[in-house]
Amino acid sequence: MKILVCISSVPDTTSKINFTADKSAFDKNGIQWVINPLDEFALTKAVKLQESQGATVTVINVGDIATEPVIRKALAIGANDAVRVNLDPKDSYSTAKEIAAVAQNGGYDLILCGKESIDYNGGSVPGMVAQLLNQPFVNASVGLDVNGSEATAVREIEGGKETISVKLPAVIAGQKGLVDEKDLIIPNMRGIMSARTKPLQVVEPTSSEVKVQGVSYDSVPPRAAVKMVSPDNLDELVRLLHEEAKVI
């Protein structure tokens, strides 16, 4: 079985987000980059399938050379090889198109992604890749088993969950629960050393078409100073919520 895992390089979750002075772009200064946490669940699941079913795992990232440390980390976690599409992605569509172009000829049985990236939060790439490849798509997966040419995915739905059998090849977008947080793989020294010699193929993009542009960015405005209420005066808290905030 061949698995393709799509990974995105995103600011570390503890990053404060700033924008350039003219607000036209995200300010990358001082940012630590990590594998998108939701993609990490997908990657770990793929490595588990590699161990249990002898699958091969290829990671793909659409990004410029600055994303290579993150790709190497994915290799250290256990992917067999990697592809980087040499394009600083501008939107979900251009990213999905490049992933689909690589996947088209790769003969992958399963494409795994995180359900969204924690930077631009588009949540669009997995579904777009599926449609570009004319494959079935299961989003928000919190469980996955593969049995021959079929997969069984559990997806989260509002107020419950649903178990779906899917014909492969298919695209599955995962989230926390696809594997447990405690099962995420922290690369050991052997993994890090072997990642240095694993194949990382760089391919050029097939198109430059963009469908959505980020015109400008705003930070979240600060809240007014907190009003502290004594624990002995909860009537006052109830009054504030009822009369001032009008939320109860």
Binding site: D119, N121, F137, K211, V212, Q213, V215, D218, V238
Partner: protein, 315 residues
């Protein structure tokens, strides 16, 4: 500029997110000088519910093959009837699975997680959530066709009655690639993303056995319950309740955080809540800086007392 909107239902019953999406579509249609056509798949609810928020046409897709959800098949069905250049979806799990596939089918731009009515229609430009709630992006669509997904609880549900007409479309979309094996809906539980009030708790609760008081407060408020990441990681509460950067992003009217210190990743998921109340025994908890109201004290005394007081005013 015909405006279409996907009115999502669960087992035939329209979701609040559907009414919000229709309300949003009505605002866009008013801007465009056009009308709203709502599309629904196998609804049992009356179309009157959609006219109430501004839909003047409702297309009810009838298709036995779509009794259970498949992103691809639903996208195909919507594609067959959505004959407009603006298509609105709620940003629910199902709708945000359908929208990207539809965008490729139609060769339209897709802007997800939008928060406000568009800044302009031509080109289509709108404010959207980005950086997991730590920032906003003003996104511009290229080309003439655009699909948007509306972030839940952002635009609000707005009554705007229109007189409407209904059309039934019988389709039979191929749905062979996926099959729903089982479907579990927890009954009587409020959906966290739709909830207008959320009571959330963290490690300060000391153990899962103490969640009863959180649930009691939530019940009195008609609220959903949530938790911080460490709590779901330890297994005190299910993953589905984790709010934050790698969990769910929510925007309720009232968010009450009990025993949560307020890590930046947690704030990212909740800071678009309209009012935030923080209850924590540590006066230095960073969450107080992002709260509207704060109480320093022992949650085990405060929560039951607060529950009683709210019960009293709710009468």
């Amino acid at each position: 500029m015909a405006v279409f909107v996907y009115a999502e239902n669960i087992n035939g019953v329209y979701k609040k997110a559907a009414f919000e999406a229709v309300s949003y579509a009505k605002a866009v249609a008013d801007q465009a000088g056009d009308t709203v056509t709502a599309i629904s798949v196998n609804p049992t609810d009356s179309s009157d519910l959609l006219y109430k928020y501004g839909a003047s046409n409702v297309i009810n897709i009838k298709d036995e093959g779509l009794k259970s959800f498949s992103a691809k098949a639903f996208a195909q069905a919507v594609s067959e009837v959505a004959d407009g250049n603006i298509i609105i979806f709620p940003h629910t799990t199902d709708a945000s699975s359908v929208a990207p596939m539809l965008a490729i089918m139609k060769n339209y731009s897709l802007i997800t997680n939008v928060l406000e009515a568009p800044e302009s229609l031509s080109p289509f430009q709108v404010k959207r959530r980005a950086f997991s709630g730590k920032g906003f992006m003003h996104a511009k669509a290229e080309g003439t066709g655009v699909i948007v997904t509306v972030s839940q609880n952002a635009f609000g549900v707005k009554e705007n009655a229109a007189s409407g007409s209904e059309e039934v479309k019988n389709l039979s979309v191929a749905n062979e690639d996926t099959k729903v094996v089982s479907h579990e809906q927890s009954s009587g539980k409020l959906d966290l993303k739709e909830a207008e009030v959320v009571v959330s708790a963290g490690r300060g609760m000391k153990g899962p056995e103490n969640w009863g008081m959180i649930e009691d407060l939530a019940n009195v408020l008609g609220a959903a319950t949530a938790c911080s990441k460490p709590v779901s990681d330890i297994g005190w509460r299910p993953h589905t309740e984790h709010v934050g950067q790698t969990g769910k992003a929510i925007s309720p009217n009232l968010y009450i955080a009990v025993g949560i210190s307020g890590a930046i990743q947690h704030l990212a998921g909740v800071n678009s809540s309209k009012t935030i109340v923080v209850i924590n025994s540590d006066p230095e908890a960073p969450f107080f800086k992002s709260a509207d109201y704060g109480v320093v004290g022992d949650a085990f005394q405060i929560i039951p007392a607060l529950t009683e007081k709210i019960k009293a005013i709710k009468g």
